[in-house]
């Protein structure tokens, strides 16, 4: 019990700090700290530009929501093996990777994320969990090795690891062959982590196995760390040439397609959501690949919306599992008749995901499509529309199966406790984060103006990296 209270208090403090950081960055622009007072590029630099601050803020919000959800839903056996400390290690790794200003430091934070997520996946020791964890760990450690190789090559070319310094040194290199190869190695490494086509298969194989609180943080933030790293590396260090743009866009199209088709054939609710994660990673990669500021704005907005909604969806999935005693949508049913108010609550994340205007998924797609028209990538627009349409179809299917159809008899596992059997306190702890995140995504949808302005500011900063470099390196960059 004490662990749960401490966890919630800790997450609240982290949220307060992230709000302070965000408001400072919003007012004063990019902030930088040189750890150990060793000046850049020799020391370890932590940088917070608007993108980092926004993602840290989102991590803070999700951290609090998931701490509360975990406090209500994690069984004591898991808590005894250190579930909550490891959960907070994961949050630390996430914040660290968003703030790292040094590419090797970024790698170290990635390792912290992998190690803690591996422990979170395996705590409990169910057979399915171990199987999922092995797949997850193998692929992610492979991605880390590839990432490390890319760093080694980059260090060999330039002799520096500071991202701002790298940006200057790379730009000064005449022969781009090795630089482009290095960029591709980075892309493969981050591609595995962010689950793009054809390297996504570890994700649906592992995300449905851990407790729902863990799946929520994984679905909300872990793949987005890969996307964040991709955005950071391909805007700051490497400049996108037409070849790289085409690769990114091609991968985005195939990711959208395979994710959507994969989700269509699944019956396990958690697996459907896992494939939808893959599908929607495609939107962000597409936004990055089009190479226009408007499309990048769309990608950033989509990321903000997606982090909130995906985490909420997995928690909703957890709630549905507890109510029905199964994750198979064919066996669920009659939610609407049995729980009208809860169903109304669950419509918010489900339909925000689809992007029915004015809910939050609609606005970033508008920017993405306008960006596509601006750059003349009509095929990509086709795939974006296809992805959105398929999401609508899948969510409509889920809605019809889970909320309208007659319920079938389920055989829940032994010792299964239905939602009704939970204590009042557990019910509240499970419901509060879902309500909170639903209100938040409603807020993102109805208050799209400020979020759009935020995304525009972020993509403006990403397109013009000179401020970032000057702030990190001080006067030396001139």
């Amino acid at each position: 019990m004490a662990q749960r209270i401490l966890s919630i208090i800790g997450s609240s403090i982290a949220l307060i700090f992230s709000i302070v950081l965000f408001s400072l960055v919003w007012q004063n622009g990019t902030m930088v700290i040189q750890a150990g007072n060793w000046e850049a590029p020799y020391g370890i630099t932590m940088v917070s530009d608007t993108l980092s601050a926004t993602l840290v803020l989102l991590t803070g919000i999700l951290g609090l929501a998931i701490s509360v959800f975990a406090a209500g839903s994690i069984v004591n056996a898991r808590a005894r093996f250190g579930f909550f400390p490891i959960l907070h290690f994961l949050f630390m790794g996430l914040c660290g990777s968003f703030l790292a200003g040094d590419i090797f430091n970024l790698y170290v934070w990635f390792e912290i994320i992998i190690i803690s997520s591996f422990v979170l996946l395996t705590i409990g020791g169910e057979k399915a969990q171990i199987e999922g964890a092995v797949k997850y760990f193998t692929l992610n450690i492979l991605a880390s090795v590839i990432f490390l190789t890319a760093i080694a090559v980059l260090y060999g070319i330039t002799g520096t690891l500071n991202m701002a310094d790298l940006s200057l040194k790379i730009a000064a290199i005449e022969d781009k062959t090795l630089v482009n190869i290095c960029a591709m190695i980075f892309f493969v490494g981050f591609g595995i982590k962010s689950a793009v086509f054809p390297l996504y298969f570890w994700l649906p194989a592992s995300y449905h196995t851990p407790p729902h609180a863990v799946a929520a943080i994984f679905g909300g933030l872990l793949t987005k760390v890969g996307v964040y790293a991709m955005i950071r590396v391909f805007t700051l260090i490497f400049t996108l040439d037409p070849f790289l743009e085409n690769v990114l866009m091609g991968v985005a199209m195939l990711t959208l397609f395979s994710g959507a088709v994969g989700a269509l054939v699944q019956r396990n609710l958690q697996k459907i959501f896992s494939y939808l994660i893959i599908c929607h990673i495609g939107f962000m990669v597409a936004g990055l690949g089009m190479g226009s500021t408007l499309a990048l704005t769309g990608a950033i907005f989509y990321m903000i919306h997606d982090i909130v909604v995906k985490a909420n969806l997995f928690m909703v999935g957890g709630l549905l599992y507890r109510i029905n005693g199964t994750s198979n949508i064919k066996r669920m049913g009659e939610m609407y008749a049995r729980y009208p108010l809860l169903s109304l609550l669950m419509t918010v994340p489900l339909f925000s995901l689809v992007g029915i205007p004015p809910l939050s998924g609609f606005w970033p797609k508008l920017s993405l499509i306008m960006g596509g028209l601006e750059t003349g990538n009509y095929v990509l627009i086709g795939f974006i529309l296809f992805g959105s349409f398929m999401t609508l179809l899948i969510i409509a299917k889920v809605w019809a199966e889970v909320f309208w159809k007659k319920k079938e008899v389920t055989n829940p596992p032994a010792n299964f406790r239905f939602f009704e059997a939970h204590t009042q306190r557990e019910k509240i702890l499970i419901l509060i984060p879902i309500i909170f995140l639903s209100i938040l995504s409603l807020g993102i949808g109805f208050g799209a103006g400020p979020i759009q302005a935020l995304s525009e500011r972020i993509s403006g900063e990403l397109s013009d990296v000179s401020t970032y470099i000057t702030i990190v390196l001080g006067e030396k960059s001139n």
Partner: protein
Amino acid sequence: MKTLILRTASNYLLPLLLLFSVFILLRGHYLPGGGFIGGLIASIAFVLHAFANGLENTKSLLRTHPGFLMPVGLTLAVISGLAPGIFGLPFMTGLWYDEAIPVIGMIGSALFFDIGVYLVVIGVTLTIIFTISESA
């Protein structure tokens, strides 16, 4: 492994190895050594003791569960990292007391970081080894 020679030797080796580990910890800033290697040597001392005298005796010698050292060490390391903040310096900046102290040498915030690492390493290593030998 319960031979008289090993048991007698381990009783003398335990304090010697612990002293040696502190020596390694203290010389670590400019010379080879430091918290990590010092922590490993200290845990070897306890592992050797456990080999010779049995796990239960080592546990009663330690009094607390070694896992308890992990949060203590982490807290110490974090505090030593945050301490420069009081003087308005960035995270982890080395703070040094001006004059050298006999035997120990120069005192700085890096020493406390190293002591934190030392405690964490002992805690982690002993927890792992004790858990394995308990279930074996």
